[in-house]
């Protein structure tokens, strides 16, 4: 325990003594961890955005006013048989009108134009899907001739058109972003490993005499190696704090600008609720990178 404490002290002293080298290594580690955490943030923000968008997807199949209750029920039953359908609910003309009134509560002119006696709104089947990307089977059911006859000719089912294209775009974009983030993280982890490897190697060269003396005085291998390892771990620990702060600032600053398109609030909330978890996770990544690269440098250059 005492020896451990001495190793820690020596590592800290070396860190301070080679402040420029330490700063460089810590900076690279910070960039790496920031990229890792941002990749994680965008991942979670995009996932929740997609979830938010897709939750809202109701396919509305508008029915002609002539459709009977039996016809509606059998149509509903046929839709429910489809694997991708989560639920189907019937919305009557009256309910549609009530919803419409609620949505346009402020607009008296519109409300005046519509009245119960002459309700222009069609009844509909609201379909919630399991996977909004695979609507083809549902489309096929709707297009069966027996079903097609029941549709309101003036308003086609609402999945077609703009909305689907937007959803597709979001899904594509987020997949691209997730992959890019992952690749960037990997690249930067490799770069920072190399830089820390070099930092430790330089430290070993500049302290060659010192290491020699330690050996002659009877220091064990771990007593000599330990400070190097701790120094590298220190890069990771310090970088974890900076990277977390940086990412949080970025999230707060950049979040509102993305707000209308992408849901960052969930990620901000996650940051606020679990700062310890985030910093700890970054620390673990940083310390692992640091220790791995310094062990690599030592096995190659520190002949004990």
């Amino acid at each position: 325990m005492l020896q451990f404490w001495r190793i820690i002290q020596a590592g800290g002293r070396n860190f301070m003594r080679n402040l420029w080298l330490s700063t460089a290594a810590t900076a690279v580690m910070t960039v790496t961890l920031t990229i890792v955490v941002i990749s994680f943030i965008s991942n979670s923000a995009l996932t929740s955005t997609i979830k938010g968008v897709t939750d809202k997807i109701d396919i509305s199949i508008y029915l002609a006013d002539t459709t009977t209750k039996d016809q509606t029920d059998s149509f509903k039953a046929r839709l429910e048989k489809d694997d991708n359908v989560q639920s189907v609910t019937y919305k009557s003309k009256a309910e549609a009108l009530a919803d419409y009134r609620k949505q346009n509560a402020g607009d008296t002119k519109l409300l005046q134009a519509i009245n119960e006696a002459d309700n222009p709104l069609p009844a509909s089947l609201q379909v919630k899907t399991k996977d909004p990307k695979k609507l083809d089977s549902i489309t096929a059911i709707v297009n069966q001739s027996e079903n097609k006859a029941l549709l309101d000719p003036s308003s086609p089912p609402s999945y077609s058109g703009d909305r689907k294209a937007t959803i597709d775009k979001i899904v594509r974009f987020s997949n691209f972003f997730k992959t890019t983030g992952l690749i960037m993280s990997v690249i930067f982890v490799i770069i920072s490993t190399l830089i820390i490897f070099n930092t430790i190697r330089m430290a070993i060269f500049t302290r060659k005499d010192e290491i020699e003396i330690m050996k002659l005085v009877g220091a064990t291998k771990w007593f000599i190696r330990g400070p190097f390892l701790f120094e590298a771990a220190l890069y990771g620990i310090i970088a974890a704090f900076i990277a977390a702060a940086l990412a949080y600032a970025l999230l707060l600053g950049g979040g509102p600008k993305l707000g209308s398109y992408i849901d960052v609030q969930g990620t901000i909330n996650f940051f606020r609720s679990y700062p310890v978890v985030i910093i700890l996770a970054e620390m673990i990544i940083g310390v692992v990178i640091g220790i791995f690269s310094s062990l690599l440098a030592m096995t190659r250059y520190l002949k004990l």
């Binding site: 010192e210 003396i213 002659l216 007593f223």
Partner: protein, 238 residues
């Protein structure tokens, strides 16, 4: 029991140069032994074998009861802690203060802080550097630096102190002070092994002198003088 025993020790370096060939050496506890010989005679190899910087090719080395054939790489630091070594170039940690340099030898062997705090000033007093505990090595004279090195070597109270050309970088006055310090340490009961090229010192010491040439002992006298050749009647003897 012998403090240092070399029995037909041979050391061949990887480049096939023979540094020691069948060397026999017996040193008793509390002896003060000077080893002389021209450069390349094998003095440095002898010392490197003792500190296990090198391992011998054949023969037997027993130091303080420890058979060097039984040492594993893991034991090497422990072997070095049993022996104090002083070098010509001092080998001090230049970024640590005098007191810290001496303390380092104890830190390495896991001594408690309280113990270190007590032992270091005492040892610095013994070598006459009580006032310089918080000074960096570069602020000291050569003689003072060598005293720091001696203090570091002695702080673990080794049975053996090896002084490898300790006066090589010192002026005569400082050199003598270091030799006197070694004699004082020897009087306290530590076996001292000194190598030197300094003729006056060897002749004035009137202690046991071993002369090495080409990896063999060519002369071993109880009250020896500094020569590099073997006396004709003793050639090839132990």
């Amino acid at each position: 029991m012998q403090m240092i025993l070399f029995d037909r020790v041979t050391k061949v370096y990887p480049n096939q140069s023979i540094a020691l060939s069948g060397l026999n050496l017996h040193i008793q506890p509390k002896e003060f032994v000077t080893i002389v010989g021209s450069s390349g005679a094998g003095k440095s190899t002898l010392i490197k074998l003792l500190t296990r910087e090198e391992s011998h090719t054949s023969g037997k080395i027993i130091v303080g009861g420890l058979d060097y054939d039984t040492i594993t790489p893991k034991d090497v630091p422990l072997v070095r802690r049993r022996i104090g070594v002083v070098f010509q170039d001092f080998k001090l940690l230049n970024n640590r203060r005098v007191g810290e340099n001496v303390a380092f030898a104890l830190e390495v062997s896991g001594a408690k802080n309280r113990e270190i705090k007590r032992a270091v000033p005492k040892m610095l007093q013994l070598v006459g550097l009580a006032a310089k505990e918080n000074v960096f090595p570069h602020e000291l004279s050569g003689g003072e630096r060598q005293r720091v090195a001696i203090a570091r070597a002695l702080i673990r109270q080794p049975k053996i102190l090896i002084a490898d050309e300790p006066t090589g970088n010192l002026d005569p006055k400082n050199a003598w002070e270091i030799i006197e310090l070694l004699l004082k340490i020897n009087r306290f009961g530590t076996t001292v092994l000194l190598t030197t090229h300094n003729k006056e010192i060897v002749n004035a010491l009137k202690r046991r002198v071993i002369t090495i040439n080409r990896g063999r002992i060519i002369k071993d006298e109880e009250q020896g003088r500094y020569t590099l050749e073997a006396p004709t009647n003793l050639k090839g003897a132990k």
